[in-house]
Every structure is written in C-alpha cells, then in structure tokens.
Symmetry: none
Subunit: 123 residues, 4 copies
Amino acid sequence: MWFRIDFHSSKPIYEQIKEGIKLLILSGRLREGEFLPSIRSLAEDLGVNLNTVARAYRELVMEGVLEVRRGEGYVVADVRREALQGFLEDALKNVLRDCKTAGISEERVIEIVGEVYGGEGGC
Amino acid sequence: MWFRIDFHSSKPIYEQIKEGIKLLILSGRLREGEFLPSIRSLAEDLGVNLNTVARAYRELVMEGVLEVRRGEGYVVADVRREALQGFLEDALKNVLRDCKTAGISEERVIEIVGEVYGGEGGC
Amino acid sequence: MWFRIDFHSSKPIYEQIKEGIKLLILSGRLREGEFLPSIRSLAEDLGVNLNTVARAYRELVMEGVLEVRRGEGYVVADVRREALQGFLEDALKNVLRDCKTAGISEERVIEIVGEVYGGEGGC
Amino acid sequence: MWFRIDFHSSKPIYEQIKEGIKLLILSGRLREGEFLPSIRSLAEDLGVNLNTVARAYRELVMEGVLEVRRGEGYVVADVRREALQGFLEDALKNVLRDCKTAGISEERVIEIVGEVYGGEGGC
DNA sequence: GTGGTCTAGACCACG
DNA sequence: GTGGTCTAGACCACT
C-alpha cells in the first residue's frame, strides 16, 4: 500500500491511517472522485483490524474528506486543499513557537527546513 | 503556575507536564540544580491528581532530565541542552515532512518561520 | 500463577512483578513472542491492583523486555538473554563484594556455590 | 570517613549506613568496645541528616550490634561474627538460586567469584 | 475483550 | 515537610 503504520507509535492506528490518506490527497496522489481501497483490502494490506480502517474512513467522512457510495465504496470528496493545508500550517507554527522559546535559532530552523526539502522526499 | 494543562487534549496530562517542564528548562526559566515544585503543590496548582504529577516527574528522572533528592524534592539535572533540543528538532522535522508531502512550498514554510521568529515571542 | 508476591517485603510489588517476569524469561518459561496474562487477570491472580501490574508491564516495555500490542496485550520482546543476565550478575557481584569485605573466604563461597548448583534446582 | 553513601541508590541512606557499619565490624576494622563516631560528626562527614544517622544507630542497637553508653556514645557490642555472616550467606544463596534458574552456568559464577576475590577489594 | 489514564484517598518511608 | 506505593474504581481508546 501507500503508507506505513507504526505499531509502536503512541498515535492510534486509525489516526495514522487518517493522516496517511489526507497526505495522499494533499500530495495529489489521490484525487477527487477516486475510489479508495475497500476497507477489507486496506486492512489486509496494512495488517490491521477491519474495525480500525472502518473507523478511519468513517471519521474522514464526518470531516468531509471522503464520501460513501453505498454498495460501491469510499471516494475522495470535493475537498478544498487549502483547508487541509491550514491544519498543517497551524501544527508547524506551534512547533516553531516551541523552538523559538527553547532557544533554537532561526538559522538552525532554516537549516532543518533545507535538510527536509532538499533531501529526497516522501512518506 | 508556569504552564497550562489542556484537559480536553488527547495528549495525556502527564505528558503535557513533561513537555511543559522540558520547555521551561530549554527556555532557561528552570536551571540546573533548581528545585521543582513539590509533587503535591504542582498537582494542586494544575488541578490534577498527585499521581499524575508523580508519574511525569518519575519519567523525567528516567530520561535523565530531573534528579530526586530523597526527602527534599526534585531538581533539574545536569542536562545537555542539545539533548533536549533534539526532541524539538525531531518534532519539527516530522511536521516539515508532512508539509512537504502535502505540497506546501519551501518558500511558504520559510515565510511562516519568519512570521513566528519575527513576531514578538514566547509562549 | 507463576510467581508469588511477598506483601511484607520492603521491595515494591511492581518490582517483584518485574523481577518475576524477567526470571520467567531467563529460565525459558516465557519465550519471545508469547503473550503475558492481561493486566487485569494477572492483577486478580496476584491479588494486587490493576495499576500495580500496569506499572510493572509499562516499565518492562521501557526496558525493552516487553512490547505492547495495542488492544491485544503484552508480548515478550526479542530480548538478548545476555542483557537480562547482566542484571543478575551485577547483583551477584554486589553480594560477593560484601562477602569478601566481611571476611568470608573464597573457599567458603565456592562451597556455597556448589551447594546451590549441586542441589536439585530452583524456585 | 570509612564508607560512601550512594545518594542515587534506591536503598535508604540509613540502611546503607547500617550495612557499612556491619561490614566494618565483620572486616575487623571496628572491634568490640570501640566507640563509633558521634551521630553529629558522622552525619557531617557523610553529608546526611542527623536523624538519618540516629536511626541507623538506633536500629543497630535493636539488632544487638551496638550498645549505647548514655552521655558517652555508641560502642560496638559483643557480636558473634558468625551471626552477621549468616545473613550474608543467605543473601548469596538467594542470588545464586536466581542465577541458576536463569541459566547462568556454575563455571560463569565461579569466574565472577574469581574476579571479585582476585581484584583489589574493599570500600 | 485489551491497555491507558486519571482520580481520591490512604499509608508508609525518608530527612 | 518530602517522595513512594498501593488501592478501588471510573472512564476512555483501541482492536
């Protein structure tokens, strides 16, 4: 499949799945109207429980990211990318504020940005 | 007191306390050899249970951030700031990787960095 | 169950549990990948509180002895026996140093070793 | 002074003092009828609280290891060395049993005995 | 069902 | 006064 689950992380698996899907959408690898893998097949691919995937999909529906087509499956809804990006930018700002408070210099931060953006990418 | 607890956050209280203390140390508001508030008084100030604070302190001892002086209290250990900063830099890298995947441009990120570091600071 | 708790000992119960589990692993009665009893069931079997067992398990995870499978339980991690044996050898050295200081002869010590190893074994 | 206190140990300081004194007696560096340092001076030497030393002395009196001469101080009582040694031999046997259960070979144990007894001793 | 967190409150050990 | 441990019981999150 397209992303990995970290079974040792303290972050719940269903949240890892949700995040993974959001990132796939943001990065353009999943587009509006495309079908997602069935709950059953994704669960098998990731090696997790059916209910776990089901919950991730269900919550993404509630957030408006996915839509259910009964009897067919889940498709990517008509999401505004900016909305999703906003949540990432907020996260970034929070960490940056902590870095500033902690005395990490702006230069060092920009160095790190370079590392990440320069380096080969991707999840 | 010195920091706030978000009781609605999904992040456990004891972890919020750990993070808060690490940030206080990183920002220089808590220095090597200084005593932390007693478990009981911090618990009261934060409005949480004694055991919750105790767990945070205990784990910080295991991580080498604090030391126990038996019958006296907890003091800030002789920590290398770099070690603590590492934990923030890791958090930063994670968010940045997500931003990259999500298609947020490096320029936009640096713009945000500028906002945070330019603007007047601090938690 | 597999071991006994001495409620009168000055050694904390959660440490007795940790030690008991380490010894079960070292003696081969618990192997890599095997599940431990659930927190609740072990607590009931030992007649102690759930939190006490939980703490023992949690600390064993931090020491790399166990792993958590969320929603499933705790399993014995892929531990190097030597690592665990080290903790026993340290204990042995400490006692031996005291014996030496106390004027117990090396011959007497080896005699005792013979007694224990010769005699039919263990707990 | 004659022994060191490990302030980071989980073993209570007063127990470390008790053990230290017992070992001094067993090794012959403190003999029957000899005076121990006053509570006040030992506390200062060790850098611990008065009450801590007082408690150690008090318990050693209860165990028959020391005697109080009111107004003069504490002296080493008429102790049978064997009695004290017995408690060490018991401790040794316990650890050895664990070692055996854990699969540490008799050869390895004797090797360790050699290390400790061969090596320079003390403190 | 599993583990995880948290509370309220008790009691002990230490300095 | 300090920290340490433990209990009983609640509620939540995960699989």
